[in-house]
Amino acid sequence: MSKKAIVVNKELSNDIVLQVDNLSIAFGGLKAVDNLSFNIKKNEIFGLIGPNGAGKTTVFNCITQFYRPNNGEVYFRTKRDKVVNLVGRPVYRIIRLGLVRTFQNVELIRELSVLDNLLVGAHIKYKTGFISHMLKTKKARKEELDNRKKAIEVLKYLGIDHLKDFLAAGLSYGILKRVELGRALMSDPNLLILDEPAAGLNETETEQLAETIRKIRDDFNSSILLVEHDMRLVMNICDRICAISFGKLLAIGTPKEIQSNKNVQEAYLGKDD
């Protein structure tokens, strides 16, 4: 009970966007995330790494409320500079606060064109309801036109505007990853969560991705949290990294600090005898 009182009065220092406090979740007897705490600063690219099954995606799902954590709080600084606790909020409300995610295996809609898939990302921007949509009122038409323009701009930004009318069903994995990134950008997030953005990409595509992620941070004025297996990418673009193993924190620090950390090396390579 006393904990809830703290929630309301929680003050984050001005440069922090996301604060994860003592996060824990267990599935049956298995502790997938165990008392994990870290924070993400404004305009920071923050990496979450760990061996397979370390609980990285589970942490994501706890932040975005796809899973309800058993314990712990997730404080988030919204677009309007208000600090809120995300825990307990409905999943579909999270994006309105300024936090948006992509998925490990792309979750796009096959029957929709690339442009329409991006417009799905702008869902929260629409103020008109379904009755105005049926009647195609002036306001609804204008809204649609504005969002369409914006979607084309985002597609141009990602270099895939020539594919806007193609159905998502027929495109290559590398392109789809970029479309999904574009969909996330449509909501003007101030924290973008990327779940393995480089999975399934070849080397050139991964290099381009690194460039794109940096550009997004600067141009969209957004912080980025990413889970990734490609160590080269992570070490290359992240400002700070949090390494976890079996749901427990190993270390937080700059890429250099993480690389030289004994615990991290042990978790990845095994113990030296």
Binding site: T64, F66, P90, V91, Y92, R93, I94, I95, R96, V100, R101, F103, E107, L108, I109, R110, E111, L112, D116, L119, V120, G121, A122, H123, I124, Y126, T128, G129, F130, H133, M134, L135, K136, A140, E144, R183, S187
Partner: protein, 343 residues
């Protein structure tokens, strides 16, 4: 000669579609064809095509629900029946004007539908099928037993609509009202599926996770889809009773709900024109074509066998429905010509 006439058809097709926003022209042209149709084809076609239109409207609603939100309702007939009884009761017993009765008769099933949806959709999508099936069966029993209101097995009558006390419609006039309702509903549905709401429904069907991550409230959009399906079914019910002048319990059984489902599968899921095509196949094929063929037309239950085979063939080879074959033919006429011309 053939080439020239094809060119003319093509020109007319593309020019008219350039003047007005394309889909609207197509729908309006289709409406005009529907109005003329009974006068070209002889015999008692007006009743048959009128029924086709009524069932097409209900099927459009179900297509919105099944095709776009991935949910299924087995209570279409129940909701149609409920609105038909209300329309009959209000216009005949209470002397309500047509439009006022239409509003009330449609409003009540939609509210009932929303309640059923609120209870069942919270759990899992497929509970809607079970809940609507139960509600439809309960409604059918009520139609049979609540004689004071429904007339029991004999049913209840209604007149052709009397619009604003100015137009006392006959059967032909009522038929035109049916066509107008169908065309307006086709256009509104067309607008909806191309709008953010349509995209939200498709997203929900494709991936629950993506939908929620993009801010789509799944319960809300499921309820919208189901409410619209109920709305269309209720409008169809009201139009049915005014066009046929009669409603009785045995029409509104599970078989009808399944036939409306068959319309969608045969015609084309997620296709407006496909739904209408499907309604024509299911509800006019046996009356207008099969019965005209000597010997074969006299075999009882033949149309059911044909539909059964048709559904299997379509699911196996044309999952997009008959409309896909239709579109392929149109494409081969118009597009191959262009390629040849450019060579």
């Amino acid at each position: 000669m053939a080439i020239i006439s094809k060119k003319i058809i093509k020109d007319i097709f593309f020019k008219t579609s350039n003047i007005l926003p394309k889909p609207y022209v197509n729908y309006l042209l289709f409406g005009i064809i529907l109005v003329i149709l009974p006068y070209i084809v002889n015999g008692s076609t007006l009743l048959t095509i009128g029924s086709v239109i009524v069932y097409a409207i209900a099927a459009l609603g179900l297509n919105l629900l099944l095709g776009y939100s991935g949910l299924i309702s087995l209570g279409t007939a129940g909701f149609m029946g409920l609105s038909s009884y209300f329309a009959s009761y209000l216009t005949k017993d209470l002397n309500f004007p047509f439009f006022a009765s239409l509003l009330i008769s449609v409003f009540i099933p939609v509210i009932l539908g929303l309640l059923v949806g609120l209870v069942s959709l919270r759990i899992e999508g497929y509970y809607l099928a079970i809940a609507t099936l139960a509600v439809a069966e309960i409604l059918r029993r009520i139609f049979e037993k609540f004689i004071a209101f429904t007339g029991g097995y004999v049913g209840k009558t209604a007149d052709y609509p009397n619009i604003l006390n100015v137009f006392m419609l006959d059967r032909e006039g009522t038929y035109i009202i049916l066509v107008i309702f169908l065309i307006v509903i086709m256009i509104l549905t067309h607008n909806l599926i191309q709008s953010p709401t349509g995209r939200a429904l498709l997203t929900m069907r494709g991936s629950d996770a993506a939908a929620q991550a993009m801010g789509i409230d799944i319960l809300k959009y499921r309820l919208i889809a189901f409410a619209l399906a109920t709305l269309y079914a209720s409008i169809a019910g009201v139009l049915y009773v005014h066009f046929n002048e009669l409603t009785y319990p045995t029409i509104w059984n599970l078989g009808l709900s399944l036939n409306i489902l068959a319309i969608i599968i045969i015609g084309g899921i997620r296709s407006i024109s496909g739904t209408v095509l499907g309604a024509f196949v299911v509800y006019s094929f046996s009356d207008l074509i099969l019965k005209e063929i000597p010997f074969i037309g006299e075999i009882p239950g033949l149309s059911n066998i044909i539909f059964g085979v048709l559904i299997i063939v379509i699911i196996l080879f044309y999952p997009q429905g008959l409309i896909q074959i239709f579109k392929n033919i149109l494409k081969s006429i118009f597009i191959r010509k262009d390629v040849k011309a450019s060579e």
